[in-house]
Symmetry: C2
Subunit: 245 residues, 2 copies
């Protein structure tokens, strides 16, 4: 790892004034990488693999990107472009909740995203546009700017955590390991030792019908309320500038 912080990709211009025109583009490379990650998981995303997909030599990629981490940054920003950021009106909480819902969908569509969003910062144009949009939802809310940013960051973090929890409990037939049958087997064996008596009764009970979507909405709404975002009712009751203009 020779290169510095991966966010520096965005500071270098995509290609110089003189010299031959590049045969590929950052976005094209990111697209190929995303495609591989979607189909075979993040572990399959190697430099040589991407090069093979776009039809070039491996070393050529380093003309577009200075390290693999920068490439990941590109991937994150590319799928962040899938948010539909229509300039909608409405109460802040509802707008943020909708944004979180979209985020959840995104992470389900690209299972590799959730873990990365928690580790990497990501400062690409699409990510910044997302931030800007989330801030616009909080426009007339009485909060210091940095607190707004912190709240938004925490919302996407909780979303990511929730999705990862979902995926850990899901069938996950083809995600590298052979299902989660071994996990269950390990559990019953552990329970049979006698320790973990409470665990024993907890897993013996039948799981109630579980509406993930509703639970998610509850978790997010709950967090936002606690963080100081007014409920829709509170919002409507307040005079907040020109609502219809």
């Amino acid at each position: 790892m020779p290169a510095g912080n991966p966010v520096e990709v965005w500071r270098r211009s995509e290609h110089a004034a003189v010299g031959p025109k590049p045969e590929h583009s950052r976005d094209g490379i990111a697209a190929a990488a995303v495609q591989i990650a979607d189909q075979e998981g993040m572990a399959a995303v190697s430099i040589r693999r991407i090069a093979a997909v776009i039809g070039s030599g491996a070393a050529s990629l380093y003309r577009y990107v200075k390290s693999r981490d920068e490439l990941v940054e590109l991937m994150i920003d590319r799928v962040s472009g899938e948010y539909s950021l229509d300039a909608s009106e409405g109460p802040p909480l509802t707008r943020l909740l909708n944004l979180a819902r979209e985020g959840r969908g995104l992470m389900h569509r690209h299972p590799w995203l959730a873990p990365l969003l928690l580790t990497q910062p990501s400062m690409g144009p699409h990510s910044l546009a997302y931030l800007e949009h989330a801030l616009s939802a909080l426009k007339n809310v009485d909060m210091p700017g940095p607190v707004k940013l912190q709240t938004i960051a925490m919302m996407t973090a909780i979303t990511s955590a929730f999705v990862q929890n979902e995926m850990a409990a899901a069938p996950m037939e083809e995600t590298s390991d052979g299902g989660h049958a071994p996990r269950l087997q390990r559990l019953v064996e552990a329970v049979q030792t006698g320790r973990y008596s409470l665990l024993a009764v907890a897993i013996s009970e039948a799981p109630p019908q579980f509406d993930a979507e509703a639970t998610f909405a509850g978790v997010i709404t709950n967090y936002l309320s606690g963080a100081g975002v007014p409920s829709d009712a509170e919002w409507e009751a307040t005079a907040h500038d020109q609502p219809g203009l």
Copy 2:
């Protein structure tokens, strides 16, 4: 990646009846790995590096562990042993909050932990003991067992997300990349483009005094309440079996 699910480490006994006694132990290996990760980050934890620390050949480690992933499982369970799970009494919410606080401390002490806890399941003895302890805090709470498990999992997930948010904003002098100065520089450059006007004002405001500990407690308390865990006041008001016996 040849091996199956990493949780299978716990199903194999540590060593066989016949043959020479092993010169090392799983926990010793895990300890070495944790030491390396604490000092130089998770990326520095390689098989050969661990082998060098415990003074053995690289191939020897595969007598104790079938893959690197299993080794990570060992690492997680080892630091999970740092929880102090004293059989305390008290209202469920307070007990869970204290547990989450300890988790936060743990993740600060071992910066590599937070990301892993979100990805890996971890079913080692210490992890299970933690689960059992958390369940004991919810003993007299009216919730289906699986919902309790889900709530606990979500609590540690939120904790992990919170800590990772903390660390992303921290100085992080020595964590591989050279500080987060590039991130700031990238931000101001992006803001200067004119897009992101709301972002511009948000970061221009001075950050208010920020008590991370208090904020964390608020987030966790808020989540737990929303998930159905009674507040301390509600708990005291309820008749819940023998409180002093």
